[in-house]
Symmetry: C2
Subunit: 181 residues, 2 copies
């Protein structure tokens, strides 16, 4: 159960409409949580029924766009959920299955895909580092800023890990399969 809480977080950061949320989940929030517009609308309806959020009147001149804001009960639910104990989620990535599969069936086109992934991860790493420079030149002045920076750092660390791992994988996959290697 995280999409509702991600929505509550996003709306507490800034009240906005369903479609703006969809945009934010495609971009900034999407760096650490993803959701489709169908999901978002589905969930907004639920959150409203639970009394955790409320819809504001559409702004003048913006006839249809309906902004949502978090109610006290929603804020309290987010506080509860944030502080509760949760199990870490184990690693789970198709790439691991595919590497194990190649180990047993022999060479496939997997190395080409990993080369493409390497490029993508390098690109994303550069983007995160650029965002870091732009948004957090001094790290973070308030606790809030520091925490936001921390989440971005998680992205940097993850992309760095994938870059390293792709390089390792390409090295192994590119070797000729010599029996007494």
């Amino acid at each position: 159960m995280s999409l509702p809480h991600a929505l509550l977080t996003a709306l507490l950061e800034r009240p906005c409409s369903g479609s703006e949320l969809a945009g934010r989940f495609d971009r900034s929030i999407g760096f650490f949580w993803q959701a489709t517009h169908q999901q978002i609308y589905r969930e907004l309806k639920r959150l409203e029924e639970l009394g955790w959020i409320t819809a504001l009147e559409p702004e003048a001149g913006r006839g249809r766009k309906r902004a949502y804001q978090v109610l006290p009960a929603g804020r309290e639910e987010l506080r509860r959920w944030t502080g509760e104990a949760q199990e870490p989620k184990p690693l789970r990535d198709e790439l691991m299955v595919r590497l194990r599969a190649e180990a047993v069936i022999g060479p496939t086109d997997l190395v080409r895909d990993i080369e493409s992934r390497l490029a993508q991860h390098l690109e994303k790493l550069a983007l995160y580092q650029e965002i870091e420079r732009r948004d957090f030149p001094d790290g973070g002045v308030t606790r809030q800023r520091e925490l936001q920076h921390l989440v971005l750092q998680a992205g940097v660390m993850a992309e760095t890990l994938w870059v390293d791992f792709c390089r390792k994988a390409i090295a192994v996959l590119s070797e000729a399969d010599v029996a007494t290697h």
Copy 2:
């Protein structure tokens, strides 16, 4: 669509029964892919209907345990899937949402949960490193072994990342919230 392929991989590594698969998904395969026994049985039935695997006769003296093995069509499907291009899956972890939530609502018990997580990740890291020492003392002699080692290394890298990250998070979360900090 990865569970079917994870099952094909596991069965190619070693034909076995549904319950043995469940055990393997709780342990070794479970380090990089997880599945419940309900899922496994559901999927085995599907794979059999697709003609990708076949059930062997129960072994003598093992009246009920039914082993499965992969058919040529299943092997070919696994080869196809392994080599196809796939998008990397972006980072997606509740902990990031919770950190962002705490940034906006203020202090919660999150730091306690992260301390507990740190211990869990350290423990798992130690376990993976022990497995690495035991199973791959020389890295890997064949391509197959090298690829298996590589997947284990991914686990080591991931746990190392989480240990580092938890430490960073604890440091930030433990600071008193001073405005002009």
